[in-house]
């Protein structure tokens, strides 16, 4: 929920300096936006340019060619489920300052965000390897965090968690606590006010965070490479195919990854934009600031 009214550069210029500056800023802004947009889309263009239908057919018609897709989707769904269940309360507690030493918690999340995924993978070996105490505990319940589906999900959770937690925390922060207090004074239990007020108002932000986490999870590679070489998800499949047969055979899987990973973020984005329009500019509380 973007609570602050988004000041369009054009509008800003209009208000401050009048028409002439509008033009200059507008052109510069549009130009910059176009450059960034093209730069971001560059790799996609290259991907499409180098894809040949025959290569796609060859890559995808092999037996078990789509198994990595299924693996990736399943593992990412598990990772997201865990994140929603465990990350949402943490995000809420961070947003509402309900944690002792809040800076410490935030730093913890930031550390996992800043750590290169490869390093996370290496450290996970020390943490959950089969011969560590945690690894032995897992073995007791017939789980292993080394080259298993479970390991893949764990690696994806680690790569995606900071994106979800920070995004969700920002979403909750944008909901003014006063609104929750009003709901409770009007007779709602905590949980009911969360469901009726907090969640609907945070929903667009939560959707964005979830979409981001989804993209991170399904595209996770660094930590996956270290602790979950098997079973192949899409990124691992791309890597192995690249190593084994080369670029032409690997690119179709990159396309699949894109096609699978993209719809959720796009939907979330569209929904967020619509929600923003529906509740108007700067309306979390719906009051003028006196």
């Amino acid at each position: 929920m973007a609570t602050a009214p988004v000041l369009h550069p054009w509008a800003y210029a209009d208000r401050r300096n009048g028409r002439r500056v509008v033009g200059v800023l507008g052109v510069l802004g549009a130009l910059g936006a176009a450059v960034v947009w093209l730069a971001l889309l560059g790799p996609l263009g290259a991907l499409l340019a180098h894809l040949s239908p025959s290569a796609i057919q060859r890559s995808l018609s092999a037996p078990q060619a789509l198994a990595p897709l299924v693996t990736s989707v399943e593992a990412s769904a598990v990772a997201l489920g865990v994140l929603v269940a465990a990350g949402t309360p943490l995000a809420w507690a961070m947003a509402r300052n309900r944690l002792p030493a809040p800076r410490l918690w935030e730093s913890g999340v930031l550390v996992s965000l800043l750590m290169p995924p490869l390093v996370i993978g290496l450290l996970l070996v020390f943490l959950v390897g089969p011969l560590t105490p945690i690894g032995r505990g897992l073995a007791d319940v017939h789980l292993s965090a080394s080259n298993t589906f479970f390991a893949l999900a764990v690696a994806e959770i680690y790569e995606a968690a900071p994106y979800y937690v920070l995004g969700a925390s920002a979403a909750f922060t944008s909901v003014e606590p006063e609104l929750e207090e009003h709901a409770r004074l009007l007779g709602d239990s905590w949980w009911r006010s969360f469901r009726r007020v907090t969640l609907p108002l945070a929903a667009p932000g939560l959707a964005s965070a979830l979409a981001m986490a989804w993209a991170r999870a399904i595209g996770a590679f660094g930590a996956v490479l270290i602790i979950a070489y098997h079973p192949y998800g899409l990124p691992m499949q791309i890597w192995v195919t690249l190593q084994q047969t080369g670029l032409a055979a690997a690119l179709p899987f990159a396309l699949i990854l894109l096609v699978v990973a993209l719809p959720l973020p796009v939907l979330a984005y569209v929904w967020t934009a619509r929600a923003r329009v529906a509740s108007g500019p700067g309306t979390t509380v719906g009051d003028p600031v006196p």
């Binding site: 080259n147 270290i226 055979a249």
Partner: protein, 356 residues
Amino acid sequence: MAAAVAAAGVSLSLVAFSTVASASASASASASASVSGGRHAAAHRAGTADVAFAGSLLAVDNEVVGPAFERATGYGYTGRGGGSIGLSHDIGAGEISPGVFESVGAAPIAALEPQFTRWYVRFASSPLVLAYNPHGPDAAVFRAAAQGRGSLAAVFKAMARPGFLLGRTNPATDPQGQAFVMMVELAQRYLHLPAPIVDQILGAGATTGSGGNPSQIFAETALDSHLEAGQLDAASAFLSQAVQLHLAYVRLPAAIDFGDPADAAHYASAHLVVPAATGPEAVVHGAPLVVDVATLRQPSATKADVSASDAFVAYLLSSAGRRAYAKEGFTLLPNTLFGPRSAVPVRVRRELRRVR
């Protein structure tokens, strides 16, 4: 200090007539080399040797041979490691354009002939060993074998135990991963072990196309860290890796360690159906794990870069380069040329003559 200043001065003037990227890269590299190298530093020269090498050569090339080459010749050096087969694919597709390619096994270089090169020189081999976890449950068996007290057969029997944590690299992408599977095959015959032990160690169908037990397969980079973290009982390794990383390891007899070209015919008796996720299945026969090097013709390379590449291979094949390889755990072989002598750059040819 004076040398450093002089080198910096030279490098500034070089920018004018070389490509900006390579010149500035070599300038900074040579400047730092001349600072650390002191009075032994050779005069700076234009040109950078861009070297692609098998991942197992990363330490020896980037940390020993590369810097020594820069100091000795004044050329710049940049190195990149990767799976030999993957690198060969990247080079063939034009994704990367190194001037030198060092591969484990000749096949990745041969795949680039004749477009990029028509020759290669074999100068070392990289025998397989069994690295093991000194704190693992079967460490005593491994340690006894490593010290020559115990039997090697006991080691393989230990590895066949259910729940034994074995690590190896992907036979689909890595020559070491392929060699390891065939090494187990050879060991079964060599040590007169029961035939099913191969599948017991590697997982069902490891030699016939399934790839075996997938939980044993790790990325090259991940394998060492799992072993170092004590999360595997044993793992496939090159002798050089074991030496560089100070791993505990068991040396294998030459007849099964893929390190001796004299045993090539014997190695070839083992074979493996490469597991294929996407590509066509292929049968691979055992071959010595030798280190081959060649210069590659790159249309984009400047004349200076070409001479730097030639100089790097010449340095590699000189006694200084070979000593470095020996020290890092490689087995030296006589420099042996494969391909027409006429295709070999003069400087490299001179080095061949000198060692012979």
